[in-house]
């Protein structure tokens, strides 16, 4: 049995905590299983070391770092505008939201006021991105549950959003559309109409997903009461986004510290009650409807005018620091920037929401089954590009 349980760690055994917590004290009838980094349910290169007794999880330790690229360090060698494309490669499922978080931080550091049209366009893009990101999550979550068909449906709708992004930015995944001071270009002809059509279509399709999935008895049995996270636990682990709101805490950066034009928009912050996998699922489903509402309002009130503020040719923010928080699809995305007055950031820190959210896996899966761990990991909606940076 000891031989069977000799799991080598990714870091060559250099992680004392993991070694102590999971690999020590393996009971007589327990086995260690390495779930990932090559595993269909870990959404990329996450690895979870599972200590199992039969099918029951005794302990689960998320082992991250397989996709580390040193992005924060890279930023120090690049100029401020140069780093925008790099933000796309962090949370690659929600590239627009990352760009927005970054350019907002730089703008706050330089006190740049964005023209109203640019602010509206940014909100439209950010909310479209939220829906696209949640669609990827929903599809992957369905696949985790064994419902493969939903995945194809979600990607069919996501394609419409990507087409919209392609119209505006020319790219389908890594857009580089947000610029310091505004957006790269104005919306092309036909964008507004196409976006309206999408909102209408998406409302119908959300109903379809509910029919297919939400009321399904098997799905409810698989998610209700699974991986419960209390509000206290969620706050203590600094979980944000739907993972926090599923536990009943109505914290949304768009409401708590509004940026751009979010204070003028009418939308609700859906919260769950029990903090289980089902509530996290419902939160995201409702959020998509709220995002549709926001997009509709922005399309109606879209003002004319410039889409870029007057910014200097070479961006050199005054010496100082800024911490700028935005609500990305996965939670509160914070950008901490320190400037020494030169053209390169002195220090950049990326507060990735899923880095914190991932920690709930260990807290919530103890005593559940392997299949439940898959459901919980799916409900957290991780993107390893962002967790590892």
């Amino acid at each position: 049995m000891a031989e069977l349980n000799d799991l080598r760690l990714a870091t060559g055994g250099e992680k004392p905590e993991l070694r102590d917590v999971v690999t020590k004290d393996v009971g007589e009838e327990e086995i260690l299983v390495s779930m990932g980094p090559q595993h269909p349910a870990t959404h990329g290169v996450l690895r979870v070391v599972l200590k199992l007794s039969g099918e029951t999880i005794v302990d689960a330790y998320p082992d991250i770092g397989y996709l580390h690229r040193g992005v924060e360090k890279i930023a120090e060698g690049w100029t401020y505008p140069q780093f925008v494309p790099m933000t796309d490669r962090l949370d690659y499922v929600a590239a627009m939201s990352n760009e927005l978080a970054y350019v907002l931080a730089v703008e706050r550091l330089m006190n740049i006021e964005v023209p109203p049209r640019a602010a509206y366009i940014r909100v439209i893009m950010a909310e479209l991105q939220r829906i696209a990101s949640h669609l990827v999550w929903l599809g992957a979550f369905g696949t985790d549950m064994g419902a493969v068909t939903l995945f194809l449906y979600c990607f069919r709708e996501r394609e419409k959003i990507i087409e919209l992004f392609e119209m505006a930015s020319g790219a389908r995944l890594t857009y580089s559309y947000m610029r310091i001071g505004g957006v790269r270009n104005d919306l092309p002809d036909g964008f507004v109409e196409k976006a309206r059509d999408f909102v209408k279509l998406m409302r119908q399709r959300l109903k379809e997903y509910d029919d297919l999935f939400t009321g399904n008895r098997i799905f409810e049995a698989r998610t209700k009461g699974i991986g419960p996270l209390t509000a206290e636990q969620a706050i203590a682990l600094s979980a944000t986004g739907p993972t926090l709101r599923g536990s009943g805490v109505a914290y949304d950066v768009r409401r708590a510290e509004p940026y751009l034009i979010y204070d003028q928009l009418d939308f609700e912050v859906p919260v769950g009650k029990n903090g289980d996998t089902y509530d996290r699922y419902l939160c995201r489903m409702k959020e998509m409807r709220e995002s549709l509402k926001i997009i509709e309002q922005c399309l109606d009130a879209l003002p004319g005018g410039e889409v870029m503020a007057k910014v200097p040719k070479v961006i050199k923010p005054p010496a100082g620091e800024v911490y700028s928080l935005t609500e990305a699809p996965r939670g509160a995305l914070g950008v901490y920037l320190v400037s020494d007055g030169s053209a390169n950031p002195y220090r950049l820190h990326w507060r990735a929401p899923t880095f914190a959210n991932l920690q709930i896996v260990r807290e919530t899966t103890r005593g559940f089954k392997i299949a439940d761990a898959v459901a919980v990991i799916g409900s957290v909606d991780i993107v390893l590009g962002e967790v590892d940076r």
């Binding site: 349910a41 098997i218 089954k369």
Partner: protein
């Protein structure tokens, strides 16, 4: 034309003139080959059908390129690919178990066909305890699955194999019990006898509860969604066949579809009157009814999420078995009264 007919008649005469000691084994061999050919042909169609059907459900096309129209040659191309792949036997596996497990999984599906009546006369052997034989043969597949899971020496495989053992053993019971009602009405365990007993009304109408229980239990025995726990991709990587590739893996695949076909054929025979039906020849009715079940099972597969292992055991022991017993009791009472 006449020459061919003469040659054929000569061949038939020669065949029947053979001494029994040669004729009987030769006949058996020919029947086995015929059944094997039937299975392989159907599995090729089934895999293609599953791809097209799931494609249709998921608003995509499925295979389109290999063979026109509609990629009919895709499965053949895949088979050739699997045939020419390197035969990998990982270090550390239990060689014997690992090597023979795919064959053990496939064989039961072949055995079942020995008693399935294709038409009034087309049947390998009209066994008088055919249903018992079907149940016995069907439950052998779990041995192969467990052998592969244990022999692979891989933790995911072992978990899949343990699930399979728990699953198939507990669903064998309701599956057999659900057929008892049919046996009581038909008064026969022979499949031809059961078909004959349905000449007026199909048993699906007389035994609706039995049919539903049989369908659910069959899904579980076939490892199909919502009960595809043994190879649950998102949980156990690929379950019991994680370490398999190439031709050995293809045998698991073949076994899976052969089992699907066999279970559908049994269901069509027991609940839908088998080959009997008006106007069309028996074989056509038999194929139509079998494929009705195949499509039904595929439809369920591509709609449902997967159930969890403990929930599945609960459904089996707490719902299906009591329901099957109630069904038997009701059937018995009705037979007593009528």
């Amino acid at each position: 034309m006449a020459a061919v007919a003469d040659a054929w008649r000569a061949l038939v005469d020669w065949y029947f003139a053979l001494p029994p000691v040669v004729l009987v084994p030769l006949a058996g061999l020919l029947k086995v080959l015929a059944v094997f050919g039937w299975i392989v042909l159907n599995v090729l169609i089934l895999i293609w059908l599953e791809r097209k059907f799931s494609g249709r459900m998921q608003s995509r096309l499925g295979p389109m390129r290999v063979g026109r129209p509609h990629g009919w040659a895709q499965t053949i191309a895949d088979t050739i690919k699997l045939l020419v792949k390197e035969d990998v036997i990982p270090r550390g596996v239990d060689r014997w178990l690992y090597v023979i497990a795919p064959a053990v999984v496939f064989t039961p599906a072949l055995l079942v066909w020995a008693v399935v009546p294709f038409t009034r006369n087309w049947i390998v052997s009209d066994l008088n305890v055919a249903l018992v034989y079907v149940a016995a043969a069907g439950s052998l597949a779990v041995l192969g699955i467990f052998m592969s899971g244990w022999g692979s020496n891989n933790k995911w495989s072992l978990l899949g194999a343990m699930r399979a053992a728990a699953q198939i053993i507990s669903y064998e019971v309701p599956s057999v019990l659900s057929l008892m009602g049919v046996v009581m009405i038909a008064g026969s365990l022979s499949l031809q006898g059961i078909v004959a007993a349905q000449h007026r009304v199909w048993f699906i109408f007389l035994q609706p509860l039995g049919f539903i229980i049989y369908l659910i239990a069959t899904l579980a025995e076939l490892n199909r969604t919502p009960f595809d726990l043994t190879e649950a991709e998102s949980e156990l990587v690929a379950g019991f066949n994680t370490e398999y590739s190439g031709l050995r893996w293809a045998f698991f695949f073949l076994g899976e579809y052969a089992n699907l076909l066999a279970a559908s054929a049994i269901a069509a025979t027991v609940f839908l009157g088998g080959w009997s039906g008006p106007f069309l020849p028996g074989i056509v009715w038999f194929v139509l009814k079998t494929y009705f079940f195949v499509i039904l099972i595929m439809w369920i597969k591509w709609t449902m999420p997967r159930i969890r292992i403990d929930q599945m055991m609960e459904v089996g022991w707490k719902f299906l078995i009591p329901a099957a017993l109630v069904n038997i009791a009701i059937t018995g009472l009705v037979l007593l009264v009528v």
